[in-house]
Every structure is written in structure tokens, then in C-alpha cells.
């Protein structure tokens, strides 16, 4: 693709805007009191797969910081976690290659592996270390919180992100093969 870089700039901006809107205004109860499903991570994963690691990382990072700013304080450790999460999923984008119109078994497995690694690195490692370093919070507490986050985000990215990618792959199916019935 030519002039890909401008498209990536725009994808980062729109991805961040989507992240913001979902994080800030959309509350779908998760079943656990006062906790909502973090749909934004599903969308971030979709953008990482569609546009690669840089867009995946920056769209989430910008979206996260803007969301935090509306609450009056930026939670840097988690913002970096979000950034790393998008980066790692994005690194697998070439392997998944959604633009072929395929999102079958092998792509889903790659996507799952990507998400597993990304969630483990982003939350119980990057964000937890950040929280411990910055706030000197007890590692056990931080780790427990972030494991919950990692599991929830993994599930969300798999189900929400996965289904959207699957739907998207269908929209690029070749139309030459179609017959009226």
C-alpha cells in the first residue's frame, strides 16, 4: 500500500477516539458490581490486527491518557500497559493477515496466542511493576488486581475482538463466487 503512513496516522486517531468513547461513555455491566466490560480493549486488539503494532500501541495509549485526563489524573502504569498490549498484539498482525479475507482456525489460534502473551506482559508484568515502583503498593495486591484485569481483557479481546475480526473478514470475501438462487 502506498502512503500507508498517513492512513496509520488517521487510524491511530480514530482508534484512540473509539477507545475513548467506549471507555468513557459505554457501560455494559460485567456481572461483578461496579465493574464494566472493557470493550475498548477488544477494539484496540482489532485495530492492532488491522493496522499493526504502532497503531495498536499508540491508539490505546492516546485513548487511555485522554480518558484518564477527563477524570483528572493519568494512571501512567496502566497507560503503558495498554500501550504494550496493543504493541504485542500488533506484532502478530502480519501472521494473521486479515486482508486475505480469512479468519479461520489457524488465524484464531495466532490471535489467541498474541492476546495471551500481550495480556500477560501488559498487566501482571508492565503495569504491576509500574504500580509497585510508582505507588509502592504491595506487589500481591497489585498482582491480584492486574491478574483479574488480564483475564477479563483476554476474554473480552477474544470474544468481542475475535467476533468483530471474524465479521470484518467476511466483508472482504470475494464477490466473484456468488450466484443468485
Amino acid at each position: 500500500m502506498k502512503n500507508d503512513s498517513v492512513k496509520k496516522v488517521v487510524a491511530t486517531g480514530i482508534g484512540a477516539a473509539l477507545f475513548f468513547v467506549l471507555a468513557r461513555f459505554v457501560a455494559i455491566p460485567s456481572g461483578i458490581p461496579n465493574t464494566n466490560i472493557a470493550l475498548q480493549y477488544g477494539i484496540q486488539a482489532v485495530f492492532a490486527v488491522l493496522f499493526g503494532p504502532v497503531v495498536g500501541a499508540l491508539s490505546g495509549f492516546i485513548g487511555h491518557i485522554l480518558t484518564d485526563l477527563t477524570w483528572g489524573s493519568v494512571w501512567w502504569s496502566w497507560a503503558f500497559g495498554t500501550c504494550v498490549y496493543g504493541l504485542i498484539v500488533g506484532l502478530f498482525a502480519k501472521k494473521i493477515n486479515i486482508y486475505d479475507g480469512n479468519f479461520g482456525k489457524s488465524e484464531i489460534i495466532t490471535y489467541a496466542v498474541a492476546n495471551l502473551i500481550a495480556n500477560i506482559v501488559a498487566w501482571p508484568i508492565i503495569a504491576a511493576v509500574g504500580d509497585v515502583l510508582i505507588y509502592k503498593e504491595p506487589f500481591s495486591l497489585v498482582f491480584a488486581q492486574l491478574m483479574v484485569a488480564a483475564v477479563a481483557d483476554f476474554a473480552c479481546a477474544m470474544v468481542v475482538g475475535g467476533l468483530i475480526l471474524f465479521g470484518y473478514s467476511k466483508t472482504i470475501a470475494k464477490s466473484g463466487s456468488l450466484d443468485k438462487e
Partner: protein, 276 residues
């Protein structure tokens, strides 16, 4: 004016500073506040941020929502920290001064109180600074400021685009979810969990697809107006740096270096009043 972030236009010393300077202040405080657990440094930062806040002429009433949110969050966090590990402060400071016994393993110790005081302080410092940054900086200046502290202009422009299209995407989301609701797509508590997830896809799918077509069209229109042509770009909104701006940046450098030196004096970033 863009209403995504709570920008409150006024005429004050802080408002008149260039966005670049305010970004530098914001980052200096964020870094120092993140890196230091030295109570003296934190108190100094807190006093400075309150002074900044007073200078900005922003009234507490204008940021009521955020203040309430912070208060609730801090209270919860305070309780959670205590319940989860009431002895953590003692481990950290290497001593144990019991003030009272509550029940079971829960003792109130001076060390734990002091530790939690520091945590609260850290959150509280971040607050006026973040508020100060977003309420006194015109969002239009964000991208230009990021670019002027060395972030590549393309990445900086993404921030501007995000701010530009948040209202549009919010409207999209609202309209899509309403029209889906009319067809029986509900997301409330009364819907089964798996159903809720399925339903959220029915809203997200059109939202993502329209966003993708939006990306194509916007990037075409930006290329048609030379975005990406040169290695640099200029900014209509960038405020000229004044003497006050340079003074503030020098001031930031001084407190950053000073703060880091004081913090690391004892070999770690703690200030420990319990050591004799």
C-alpha cells in the same frame, strides 16, 4: 471550541503560558511524582501544584465532578490498601509503632499510616496538575505542543484527530445503539450476560465498519492537502514562547533535578522518618 476535555478559557498567568510549557510542567510533575516516594519532595510538589491551581483562576466548582470522583477513588483505595496488607508500611520502613489494635491481624501502625499518607499524596498531586493542564490548555494546542517537545508531528497529529472525531464517534455510537435497541438489542442488567456480549457486538460491528470507512476518507482528504509532504510542519495554533515560558521551563528543570537528587539521597527513593 472542543468540549471533549474540560477546557475552561480564562485570562490568567497559566492560561497565557504556551501549551508547550504546560506540557513540560505536566510531564515534570508526573515524572517526579512517579519517581519519588520522598515525603518532603511530595509535599513540596503538592504546595507548588496548589499555587499553580490558584494562579489559574479555575474554581473548585468548575471541576466538581472530577473532584468527587477522586475523593471516592482515594477512599476506596485507602481502605483496600489497609485491608489487603495492614503491615506493608512496617515492611517498607523497617519498624513497627502500634497505635491501636482493631481486630484480628488488623493493627493501626504509624508506619502504615505514613505509607498510606504518601500514596494519597501521590494521587492528590497528580490531580491539580492534570486538571490544570486540561482546563487551561486549548485542545488545539495539544498536538503542536507535543510536536515542539520532540514527538514526531505525525504521532502528534493523531492526538488532534482523536480529539476532533471523539464527538462524531460518540454520536455514531449513540445512534447505532438506539436503532439496534429498536430491534431488540439491549445491554442492561436485565439481559443475560452472554446475550449482553452478543448484543454489544451488534453495536460495535457497524461502529467499527463505519470508522474504517471514515479512516479511508479522512486519510485521502489529508493527503489531498499535503499531509506528510515534508519532514516537518508548522502549526497555526502554536503560541510564541515568552520570557515567562522560558523561566517556567528552567524552573521545571531545577525542581526535576533537585527533586531527584533529594529523593535518591538515602540510596532508595523513600524518606524514612522512622530511622534514628
Amino acid at each position: 471550541m472542543n468540549k471533549v476535555l474540560n477546557y475552561i478559557p480564562k485570562d490568567s498567568f497559566i492560561h497565557r503560558l504556551s501549551g508547550t510549557t504546560k506540557l513540560v510542567i505536566f510531564l515534570t510533575f508526573s515524572i517526579l511524582c512517579g519517581a519519588s516516594f520522598d515525603t518532603r519532595v511530595l509535599i513540596a510538589l503538592f504546595i507548588l501544584s496548589v499555587i499553580g491551581f490558584l494562579l489559574s483562576k479555575i474554581s473548585l466548582r468548575e471541576i466538581r465532578v472530577m473532584t468527587t470522583f477522586l475523593a471516592v477513588f482515594l477512599t476506596l483505595n485507602f481502605i483496600l490498601l489497609f485491608i489487603f496488607n495492614p503491615e506493608y508500611g512496617c515492611e517498607l520502613y523497617g519498624s513497627r509503632t502500634v497505635v491501636a489494635h482493631l481486630w484480628g491481624r488488623y493493627y493501626i501502625t504509624l508506619e502504615q499510616l505514613f505509607y498510606q499518607f504518601n500514596v494519597v499524596l501521590k494521587y492528590v498531586i497528580g490531580f491539580p496538575i492534570a486538571i490544570l493542564f486540561i482546563s487551561t490548555t486549548n485542545p488545539s494546542e495539544f498536538a503542536a505542543s507535543l510536536n515542539s517537545i520532540g514527538i514526531p508531528y505525525k504521532a502528534s497529529y493523531s492526538v488532534s484527530l482523536a480529539l476532533r472525531y471523539i464527538p462524531d464517534i460518540q454520536k455514531d455510537y449513540h445512534e447505532i445503539s438506539q436503532s439496534q435497541e429498536a430491534r431488540g438489542v439491549a445491554l442492561g442488567k436485565d439481559v443475560r450476560f452472554t446475550e449482553r456480549i452478543k448484543n454489544s457486538i451488534k453495536i460495535l460491528m457497524p461502529l467499527v465498519l463505519t470508522s474504517l470507512s471514515r479512516i479511508d476518507e479522512i486519510s485521502n482528504s489529508m493527503q489531498l492537502r499535503s499531509f506528510g509532504k515534508k519532514k516537518k510542519r508548522t502549526w497555526y495554533v502554536l503560541k510564541k514562547m515568552t520570557a515567562a515560558d522560558y523561566a517556567m521551563i528552567v524552573f521545571c528543570a531545577v525542581i526535576l533535578i533537585g527533586g531527584l537528587i533529594i529523593t535518591n539521597q538515602g540510596g532508595n527513593n523513600l524518606y524514612n522518618p522512622f530511622v534514628r
